[in-house]
């Protein structure tokens, strides 16, 4: 077990180096000279040279790469190009609002999806099952933008049940007042795909031999579904959840943007709009590192829930 973790940690290093190289390549080579981006079109050569010196882009590439690696290791990406706010400060302060929306969304969404998935898998092949599946397909086909626009218009603008947008200082206020409509929209968007996926996982298990054994033992259908099947289906579900975790952090960026929630997702959109490279670079690298770490965590969880897996 320890050996496995050590080896996996060791194997993470090339991946991290790859991410660093990829981001460096994107921003320093594909993107052209960042000095022009930063300075805009109005500046003269002298200003540009000045900026180039500050950014270090007049140095050979390995020096620049060194600077980049140092930035990543120290967490000091300097200041945002557009707001002059420290990048590290941006990252730390934007995490909270994102999590305020995401954590409840994930808990509720997962619970509802699993319950519905078990229910429709139980009546597999029936009219209900097929109707729910087609409904899911249609729900999946409507753009998330339409959900947000329409929900915001009706529930907030027209009916006034929720504030149209905004964010406060108190956690409870944010959660109850400002986050509820975003969470509702998040549920509307995420349940359909999760339900479809989890139903597949449950169906895979329902067709296994051990379910037949349980039936042959006289175990009731309810117990088979909620105990025997769910315990097995939870293995792919947990793995899927863990893998989706870092993506979720950004996945709700549209919601954050529409509702002016000062989270990571909105921050990245603002940064892209403003060509605020330090912020984009920092978010990309750290989210990638977080993903790599969650992947390891996912494998360890996998081991914990599945006695068949022997990690060597």
């Amino acid at each position: 077990m320890t050996a496995y973790i050590v080896r996996r940690l060791w194997q993470m290093i090339p991946t991290m180096l790859g991410v660093i190289l990829l981001v460096f390549f994107l921003f320093n080579w594909v993107g052209g000279d960042p000095a022009y981006v930063l300075a805009g079109k109005i500046s003269n050569q002298e200003q540009i040279d000045n900026i180039r010196r500050q950014l270090g882009v007049d140095q050979p590439f390995y020096v620049q790469l060194g600077i980049f690696v140092k930035q990543i290791l120290t967490g000091d990406f300097g200041a945002s190009w557009s707001t002059n706010e420290r990048v590290s400060h941006i990252l730390v302060t934007r995490l909270g609002p994102s999590l305020t929306v995401l954590v409840p969304l994930m808990i509720l969404g997962t619970a509802i999806s699993i319950a519905l998935a078990l229910a429709v898998a139980y009546v597999r092949g029936s009219l209900t099952d097929r109707a729910v599946m087609i409904l899911c397909t249609i729900a999946l086909s409507v753009s998330i933008l339409v959900y947000i626009i329409v929900f915001q218009y009706f529930f907030a603008y027209k009916l006034g049940w929720f504030p149209v947008q905004g964010w406060g200082d108190s956690f409870v206020e944010n959660l109850v007042v400002y986050a509820s409509l975003p969470i509702l929209i998040g549920l509307a968007v995420s349940i359909a795909p999760n339900l479809r996926l989890y139903r597949t996982f449950v169906l895979d298990e329902i067709n296994q031999d051990y379910v037949r054994t349980a039936r042959a033992k006289g175990v009731s259908e309810n117990r088979i579904m909620w105990l025997h099947v769910l315990r097995n289906a939870s293995i792919p579900i947990i793995t899927h959840l863990m893998a989706a975790l870092p993506g979720l952090l950004l996945g709700s960026f549209l919601i954050e943007r529409f509702f002016s929630i000062p989270g990571i997702g909105r921050e990245i959109i603002l940064a892209v709009e403003r060509s605020d490279f330090p912020v984009i670079k920092a978010i990309t690298v750290y989210v990638a590192f977080a993903t790599i770490a969650t992947n390891l965590l996912a494998d360890l969880t996998y081991k914990a829930v599945d006695p068949r897996v022997q990690l060597k």
């Binding site: 991946t15 790859g18 991410v19 190289l21 990829l22 981001v23 994107l26 594909v30 993107g31 052209g32 981006v37 092949g125 599946m133 087609i134 397909t137 249609i138 999946l140 086909s141 409507v142 753009s143 998330i144 933008l145 339409v146 626009i149 329409v150 218009y153 603008y157 149209v164 479809r196 996926l197 139903r199 597949t200 996982f201 169906l203 895979d204 870092p246 993506g247 952090l249 950004l250 996945g251 960026f253 943007r257 529409f258 002016s260 990245i268 959109i269 603002l270 940064a271 892209v272 709009e273 060509s275 490279f277 984009i280 990309t284 989210v287 990638a288 590192f289 993903t291 790599i292 992947n295």
Partner: protein
């Protein structure tokens, strides 16, 4: 009855046919037969085919060529909904004529959401409401856009448009400038479907090629592609797309195809690699090895036809995913350039219009997309069932 079934089930009728060259149905033919007997799948296929036909017609200029002409009054309502409601925020003269000769009238300080969708929408809206009725200069706001719009208009028979009477209603309503929403939707479909198809082809090609090489050759080839894969997949898709979009300053349909295609191959890679790993050790491939078939021959002649259904299904899953992604990117203004209309840019305009009560552009773009994507997804499910009957009824994400 029982006798009929018995004959029907017998594996091979050992009857010598009159013409020995009767070609037996292969797995593709059988799959196509299964697909044809799937009503939902066939209806979906027909709808998808219609959309692709529409895309082709629009792309070749046979329909919706004049989508940018301002044929109706501003925010002309759909014909079937009746003429514009009284008390609308926009001055809609009874004559139905809006003298928009001021098309070139500069209103430099005003930012339209088309140009700058990044601004806070609702706040912006409040500032826009009074302006909307008073001036028609919205589209002439920021430098690059102005040129583009002027170009577009030059290309069209502007004089004609000006001379022509503007219609009070349009089949599916009109947008802010009185352009026909129906034509706009057709033109927008062209862009969105093209981007979806083209980028899915790029991503599927890359993913299949990498996956085949990694899964088949194993060892250091596998290690290398796996490293490449884990680097790409550890950056969440949307973040990678946004980062590339931020770096690539020029916008264009081909740019977005490349962004989506070059970042979206990871899922296909993972599946195809796994398929190749599985098939590599299958007995029919070992048998091919035993008779002396070379590596490329085994990879492409033997294994590929047996995993091609996975490729096909992945391709159609990606088309749907990329259409959705394009819509979001264009909505945010990172997608297609402003002189190109797509479902995303339509939805961008639509969010402001909705608050003014002008819902038709939202409904048109949203519905067109929903119909296509639903049809495509249902078709994908049917395709999967038809090509891999073992999975029947397990349609999943």
């Amino acid at each position: 009855m029982a006798t009929d079934l018995a004959t029907l089930r017998s594996p091979v009728p050992p009857v010598r046919r009159e013409i020995p060259h009767t070609v037996s149905p292969g797995l593709w033919t059988l799959g196509w037969r299964r697909l044809r007997s799937d009503r939902v799948g066939m209806v979906s296929l027909a709808i998808v085919a219609l959309f692709i036909l529409m895309m082709t017609l629009s792309g070749t200029g046979l329909v919706a060529r004049d989508w940018a002409r301002e044929v109706g009054v501003n925010y002309a309502p759909p014909s079937w909904a009746g003429a514009a409601p009284a008390g609308g925020l926009l001055a809609t003269p009874d004559t139905g004529v809006v003298t928009q000769g001021a098309a070139g009238a500069p209103a430099p300080e005003f930012k339209s959401s088309v140009v700058d969708p990044l601004a806070d929408v609702l706040a912006e809206l409040k500032g826009e409401k009074p302006a909307g009725g008073a001036s028609a200069g919205d589209e002439k706001s920021v430098d690059p856009l102005a040129d583009v719009m002027a170009d577009i208009r030059k290309g069209k028979p502007v004089a004609e448009a000006a001379a022509e009477e503007r219609r009070a209603t349009l089949p599916m309503g009109g947008d802010k400038w009185g352009r026909d929403v129906l034509k706009k939707t057709i033109k927008g479909s062209e862009t969105s479907i093209f981007v979806g198809l083209a980028s899915a082809f790029v991503a599927t090609f890359l993913g299949s090629l990498f996956g085949a090489l990694a899964g088949y050759y194993g060892r250091w080839v596998d290690d290398f592609f796996n490293w490449f894969y884990s680097v790409f997949s550890s950056i969440p898709d949307l973040l990678l797309i946004l980062a590339v979009a931020a770096v690539l300053q020029q916008k264009g349909t081909m740019t977005i195809v490349l962004i989506l295609g070059l970042t979206g191959w990871t899922g296909v890679f993972r599946l195809i690699r796994a398929e190749y790993l599985k098939h590599k050790s299958r007995e029919y491939v070992q048998a091919a090895d035993a008779i002396g078939a070379s590596n490329p021959r085994r990879m492409f002649m033997h294994i590929f036809p047996n995993v091609s259904h996975v490729v096909l299904v992945q391709l159609s899953i990606l088309v749907v995913a990329f259409i959705k992604a394009e819509v979001i990117l264009s909505f945010l203004g990172f997608g297609v350039p402003v002189d190109v209309v797509s479902w995303g840019s339509m939805l961008n305009e639509a969010q402001n219009e909705l608050i003014l009560g002008k819902w038709w552009q939202l409904v048109a773009a949203g519905t067109a997309m929903a119909i296509l994507v639903t049809a495509f997804s249902l078709f994908t499910d049917a395709l999967r069932d038809a090509l891999d009957p073992k999975l029947k009824g397990r349609a999943g994400a």
